[in-house]
Every structure is written in structure tokens, then in C-alpha cells.
């Protein structure tokens, strides 16, 4: 399940939304073209039209990218879980990926150094916190 991508059928984008986005995009382009053509006759009006055009283009492009991002976000991400196995006799430690059947305090495979039975002492997942120390509170 880890990292599975969503199928297109599960994450359908609404046609209504696409229609609105493309309509805004088209109108914004018209505003940009019109603004550029009347720049000689009425400078202030052309600036307003150019501004409206730019805002429209940016907004519709942003919405389009957002819908794309929403599609790619539709997946269940499961971070890797690690198992720590320790030898109580010689202190040898081994960290490996979790395997089905592992549990904390399970006597595992024999030690590579002293051949004594090793013990699973930890099973956890490590997450790199992106938001760490960003908040002042």
C-alpha cells in the first residue's frame, strides 16, 4: 500500500471547475491583449486591464497546478519502520528494516559476534519534522 498512486477514476477533476478555470484564463488573455493595444490611447486604463489580465492568468494557473497537486497527493505514505536487535552478552547492535513477526522483547536471530541469542529492543519509525522550530511559540 505504501506509496500507491491514485487511479484517475478515483480522483476525477470536476468539469465545471475546469470550465471556469479555462474561461478565466481566456478572459485574462483578452484583457492582456486589449490592455496592450490601448496602451497608446489611454495609459491608465491599459494598466488596469494589464493588471486584471496578470491576476487572472496567475490565479487560473495556480488553480490548475493545485488540482494536479491534489491528484498526486492521493496516496497513502507509510514511513519505514526499523527494528533494533541487541545482544545482551556482548552489546552488539543491529538496526534493520521491520519484518513481519518482529515484536519488542522477541528473542531473535543468533549474535554475529558471540552466537548468543539476540533480543529485539526497539521498533519505531523516524519522521523528519519539517515544521520544527518554525513557530515562535
Amino acid at each position: 500500500m505504501s506509496g500507491t498512486q491514485a487511479t484517475a477514476s478515483t480522483a476525477r477533476i470536476s468539469t465545471f471547475l475546469l470550465l471556469v478555470v479555462f474561461l478565466t484564463l481566456a478572459l485574462s488573455f483578452v484583457a492582456l491583449i486589449f490592455g496592450a493595444t490601448v496602451v497608446e490611447q489611454n495609459t491608465e486604463a491599459s494598466w488596469v486591464l494589464l493588471l486584471l489580465g496578470f491576476v487572472g492568468v496567475s490565479l487560473s494557473t495556480y488553480v490548475l497546478f493545485q488540482t494536479r497537486r491534489r491528484l498526486s497527493k492521493l496516496k497513502i505514505v507509510v514511513p519505514p519502520v526499523v527494528t533494533t536487535i541487541e545482544c545482551k552478552k556482548c552489546g552488539f547492535k543491529n538496526v534493520r528494516e521491520f519484518q513481519r513477526g518482529d515484536y519488542i522483547f522477541k528473542e531473535g536471530e543468533p549474535c554475529q559476534k558471540c552466537n548468543d541469542k539476540m533480543l529485539i529492543t526497539a521498533i519505531y519509525r523516524e519522521v523528519k519534522d519539517k515544521e520544527k522550530n518554525r513557530m515562535p511559540f
Binding site: M1, S2, T4, A6, T10, A11, R12, S14, L17, N42, E44, A45, V48, R70, L74, I76, V77, V78, P79, V81, F98, R100, G101, D102, Y103, I104, F105, K106, A122, I123, Y124, R125, E126, V127, M135, F137
Partner: protein
């Protein structure tokens, strides 16, 4: 309304000041009046449509998560349980399973009624899992039960959100759709947490909720354990010159046991001569608090429907036993997903805190109870 006023101001400027009497000015004027009228009469309707779209987006995601959960449950049953027939139909039936809470019009004795209903539910679910996965051993069956319960929770969340979405769409009522849209971020967080819990349960990995059970396991490890009241184990451990009865649910299968019954049993076995009860559990943290932070207090630290908490409180009141609690802070997502390193590392701090409490509040030779509460999946003893 202030936005509309500002828009009107702008349109006046554009229409009269910038564009003069040109046709473009007239078009802009008409356009702004049309927008103004539309917003006055259809503002809430537009807002409703926007909210419906937002809920719809989340509903697609929930549907995907729910389907993945169901698929994972079926695959795990096939892999572990080796059933003779396809378990999909049985899984689908299991996902629709419900429990009716007892009537509380006359609240006297409701705890016992609730306990009975929960026992019946538990037995029924265990039997269903055995039928679905005949080759699974006890540990695997417990893990499968947890996996199915996570899938069940996802199915329920999806259906509730779908209900409000469809009702909102049918009635076009802003207030119906608004109530679900407002709590949607929290619901999505919970659903994502259950989604990552599915793999943890299916694979038997320890989860954040097992922090209390892990503390108890650390203290009792190496000592003889005895099975007691429903799915719990107890160890008698010398602890800082005192005798500690360390209790936890029996691992490593996914199981919370009945710590209320276990504590009751140990107190009665010692004729109430217990100097102190210390309970350790995972607790919900507030935003801004650190993951794995340890805090100390008094009271019965135990979640769930309240039956166990009631039993513990009744018993400690009968013998006037002081009760202390040590909690490990984590959010809902961390509680049901594979245990994070921060929570694992906090276990040693919890043990130190328990030592401090015991040294400060009891005398040498006293008998104490240390109860590690939580799901013991992936944690032995």
C-alpha cells in the same frame, strides 16, 4: 458587503475616471452591477457550491483511503488466515457491523450494561475473525481484528461525510454543508491516521498508543508473568525496595485487555493493602506541545468507553488507595500509527518519573501497582 462596496468604488473610478465615456467603460459598469446583484441574491448559494466542491474533493480522498483499507484487510486475511473461500463478502459484512449503546434514561447500572454489550461485541468480532482466518494464531487473529476495526472506522467516516455531502447537495442548505466543511480538516487527519494504522495493525508493528504497555513491558521484562483477568498479564517485580505488581495487556498481539478487572483482581488479592497505583497511558497532546512529552498527575489514566476507569475508581475508593498517572503526549495520528522514535525514547523518562513518584509517596516494603495502559500490538513482555 465591504468587498462589494470596494468593488463599486473601483468600478466608478474605472468607469468614469479612467475609461471616460467609452463603450469599455459602460461594459465595466454593467458588469460590476451584475456582479453586485448576483452576490446580493446568490451569495450564500455560491458559498454553498464552493463548500460542496471542497467536501467533494475530500470525499474522493476518503473513498480512496477506505477502498485501500478494505483491500488491505482482505489481502492480509488471505495471506495469514489461508481461508478456503474468498473472504471479501465476509469482510464487507464486517465493515457494516454496528453496536447499539445501552439506554441511559435510567442511568443506574449503565456501566454493567455497557460492559456486557462490549463483551458480546468483542466475542462476536473474535469469532468472525476466526471464521474468516482459520489458520491465524491468537496473535495474528488479534492483529487482524485491529486491522478490520481500522478499516471499519474508515468505512464509517466515509459514509458519514458522504451522507452530509449528498444531503447538502440535495437541500442546497448552507448550514448542512457548513457543519461538515468546518470539521473536515480534523476528520481528514483522523482518516489519514487510520490509513497508516492499517499497515501497522496488519504487520503487527507497535503503535503510539502502546506507550503505556511498553513502559510496563520494560519494567516487567525478565520476570515471570502470570495471566490474569481478561487478556492481561501481571508480574511481581522488586522496584526501588517496594514490591510492584506490573500489569499490561498480553502481547504481542493487538490487544488492550481489561486493565480495570486486572487492577481490581490484584487489589482484592492483596486485601486492599496496596500503597499506591500508578497508571501510565498515552494522552492527547495539544498543538504546540512536544511529541513524547511526559507529564504527571493524579487519577485513572485510561481511555475507552469508561468501564475500566469506573471499576478502578470504585476499587481505589473502597480501600482509599492513592492513584497517580504518568502520561506520554501524542496526537491522534501518532496514537494509531507506527510508534515514533520520540514516543519510544520517552519510555525511559517515564520509568524515571515512576521511580520518583514511588520514592516520594511510598515507604520501603510497600506494595504498589504499576499499570501500563494501551494497545500492546508489537510489544511482548
Amino acid at each position: 458587503m465591504s468587498i462589494i462596496a470596494a468593488m463599486l468604488g473601483i468600478q466608478n473610478q474605472i468607469g468614469q475616471g479612467l475609461l471616460g465615456d467609452s463603450s469599455l467603460g459602460w461594459i465595466m459598469n454593467v458588469l460590476f452591477y451584475v456582479i453586485f446583484v448576483v452576490f446580493i441574491f446568490y451569495g450564500s448559494r455560491i458559498q454553498t457550491y464552493v463548500m460542496i466542491r471542497e467536501v467533494e474533493g475530500s470525499l474522493y480522498k476518503l473513498k480512496y483511503i477506505k477502498e485501500e483499507g478494505r483491500k488491505m484487510a482482505v489481502e492480509t486475511i488471505k495471506e495469514i488466515g489461508k481461508p478456503q473461500t474468498d473472504p471479501t463478502a465476509k469482510v464487507d459484512r464486517f465493515l457494516e457491523y454496528f453496536t447499539i449503546a445501552p439506554q441511559t434514561l435510567d442511568p443506574a447500572g449503565v456501566v454493567w450494561k455497557l460492559e456486557h454489550i462490549l463483551d458480546v461485541r468483542d466475542e462476536r468480532l473474535k469469532d468472525e475473525v476466526k471464521l474468516m482466518a482459520p489458520a491465524a494464531d491468537e496473535t495474528q487473529a488479534n492483529n487482524l481484528e485491529n486491522t478490520l476495526e481500522a478499516a471499519m472506522a474508515l468505512n464509517f467516516i466515509y459514509k458519514v461525510i458522504r451522507h452530509f455531502y449528498l444531503l447538502g447537495k440535495k437541500t442546497l442548505s448552507l448550514y448542512i454543508i457548513m457543519q461538515i466543511q468546518m470539521i473536515l480538516p480534523m476528520i481528514m487527519r483522523e482518516a489519514e491516521a487510520y490509513a497508516s494504522a492499517l499497515k501497522a495493525f496488519a504487520f503487527g508493528q507497535p503503535i503510539g498508543d502502546g506507550a503505556g504497555a511498553l513502559v510496563a513491558a520494560k519494567i516487567m521484562h525478565g520476570y515471570e508473568t502470570k495471566k490474569i483477568e481478561k487478556d492481561c498479564v501481571v508480574s511481581t517485580v522488586p522496584f526501588e525496595g517496594r514490591t510492584a505488581f506490573v500489569i499490561k495487556a498480553e502481547g504481542p498481539g493487538g490487544n488492550v485487555g481489561k486493565p480495570g478487572d486486572a487492577i481490581e483482581h490484584v487489589i482484592e488479592e492483596n486485601n486492599g493493602k496496596i500503597a499506591m497505583v500508578v497508571m501510565i497511558d498515552a494522552a492527547l497532546k495539544l498543538e504546540g506541545e512536544g511529541l513524547g512529552e511526559v507529564a504527571e498527575g493524579v487519577g485513572a489514566a485510561i481511555g475507552g468507553p469508561g468501564v475500566d476507569q469506573y471499576k478502578i475508581e470504585e476499587k481505589i475508593l473502597k480501600y482509599h488507595i492513592p492513584i497517580n498517572a504518568v502520561i506520554v503526549k501524542e496526537d491522534t495520528g501518532d496514537a494509531v500509527s507506527p510508534m515514533r522514535k520520540e514516543i519510544f525514547d520517552s519510555v525511559n523518562t517515564v520509568v524515571d518519573r515512576i521511580k520518583e513518584v514511588v520514592l516520594e509517596r511510598t515507604k520501603e516494603g510497600d506494595k504498589i501497582i504499576i499499570a501500563g495502559i494501551g494497545n500492546t500490538i508489537g510489544i511482548g513482555q
